[in-house]
Symmetry: C2
């Protein structure tokens, strides 16, 4: 593996670049982006060795596609058109059904591996890239049987070197589960931020009274709308379902409070405390 | 200041004990609790020097009341009955209107200082106590004019030694604002935990797919129902108001999604991103 092309050198692409380069100093990392300024920034940060264009990926041993999911979906067929027989293309998007669908009949489907590394922060862009982002993180691989075995092996060697735990799942299950454990938290956080900001016109009050609990709960409201709008669009049905259930639970809790049914509120929270055991595995 | 009595030696009381003892090795920390097992634990952890009973607080220079807010409200009048003319009583509850009300006509009202140190973690009990918990945290003081000046000065010396930033506020404003920046986040987090756990009966799926974003958003769902039920009860009107607004915002966002109005969703998230600037002051 010599020539790696990263399309979208932001948080995810840039972090891949950092770790791969560190583990394999001999590779050449080529950056591709719609925006020249992003490439310039990635170059000056040392994330990439060279700027490149889409046509160049015929020389790629590996292409990492790390741009918003709607752009990925549009671009992937063209990327597969360009890539050589021995070139491997992986994506890193937070939705999997739609991207798998768009290339299901592509003659080079076997050159593509659909993945979702569950890693990230609330920041974006080249400057958000960090070393070790993928260490101990789960990487979900979908439709692995559709990828050429040798190419898949190459991908696994890299994921392994970066410290990722691999899990296999079909795209439908992935999108359903991820709506609960990732997409919904982003909405709950965004709406929490909105509710508080709307009320507290005087920001000084928020600033002074908000503690680490609020900061933690609202953290995801800093996330990039450029990235999240297309995710919500592609995973609309699943996300709507989680949102409806979440709203239903909130209304139920509100009604308990309105009816002074503190015993039920207590019991409910006690049960939910069981999340401790689940979270122990994450942190 | 020689004899300090801490009623409730859990996360808050225990953390006060640790820091005060460290800064003032000469003080004797007496622990009071309903449960002998809690006192035994606090003693073995070195949080307190001695066990004590309520009657003993006639010898107190300082009483720190750090138990659930409903228990505080019940106990405070009795504590003030027992405390000497030179004894100072402070509470640390997350609601302030109700506790101020209950002692407004108490003959020893001037011996009480109503405070809310905005500090904590999602854990509870003596083992949750940590050093430096209050460093750089805001401590909101209510109705300071009703406290004896000399006694208040003593409290400020301690808060200052522990690194707290002091802010003055009336109890009504405190309870209104804190509903937004603290109480609501707890509910949003509890209900997020509930929604995900209900759906994901197979916990292995949550465990594997949940990333740091989910962990952060759902962290407060680990909080103690013993502590939070009384807070929601005492601050019912304000919390209901925040909950209604939060639910309304969620419904609005859900409707945008249902109507494929991704442009509005984008614009909304972009605006909420402004929370970054506010949060920069907290972390």
């Amino acid at each position: 593996m010599k020539n790696i092309y990263i399309i979208g050198v932001g948080l995810i692409g840039g972090s891949f670049a950092k770790d791969i380069k560190e583990k394999n100093p001999e590779v050449v990392i080529h950056g591709i982006s719609r925006k020249q300024t992003t490439l310039d920034e990635a170059l000056s940060l040392g994330l990439i060795d060279k700027k490149a264009a889409l046509e160049d990926i015929k020389n790629a041993d590996l292409v990492i596609l790390s741009i918003p999911v709607d752009a990925s979906e549009k671009l992937l067929p063209t990327i597969l058109d360009h890539v050589s027989e021995t070139g491997l293309v992986i994506d890193a998007g937070s939705t999997k059904e739609s991207i798998c669908k768009v290339v299901e009949n592509h003659p080079k489907r076997k050159n593509f591996l659909a993945t979702h590394p569950i890693a990230g922060t609330e920041y974006s862009g080249p400057s958000a890239a960090i070393s070790g982002l993928f260490q101990n993180k789960t990487n979900i691989i979908c439709e692995e049987e559709k990828t050429d075995k040798e190419l898949k092996e190459k991908a696994l060697v890299i994921f392994n070197a970066l410290g990722m735990k691999i899990r296999y799942m079909n795209p439908k299950s992935h999108d359903k589960h991820i709506a609960y454990v990732s997409h919904l938290s982003h909405i709950s956080s965004f709406m929490l931020g909105k509710t508080v900001m709307e009320k507290e016109k005087n920001e000084r009050d928020i600033f002074d009274m908000a503690g680490s609990g609020f900061a933690s709960t609202v953290r995801l409201a800093k996330s990039s709308p450029e990235m999240w709008t297309p995710i919500f669009k592609q995973n609309k049905a699943n996300v709507l379902e989680t949102l409806e259930e979440y709203i239903e639970n909130l209304i139920q809790f509100k009604n308990m409070m309105a009816q002074d049914d503190y015993e039920s509120m207590f019991d409910e929270m006690k049960q939910i405390n069981h999340i401790r055991d689940i979270l122990n595995g994450i942190n």
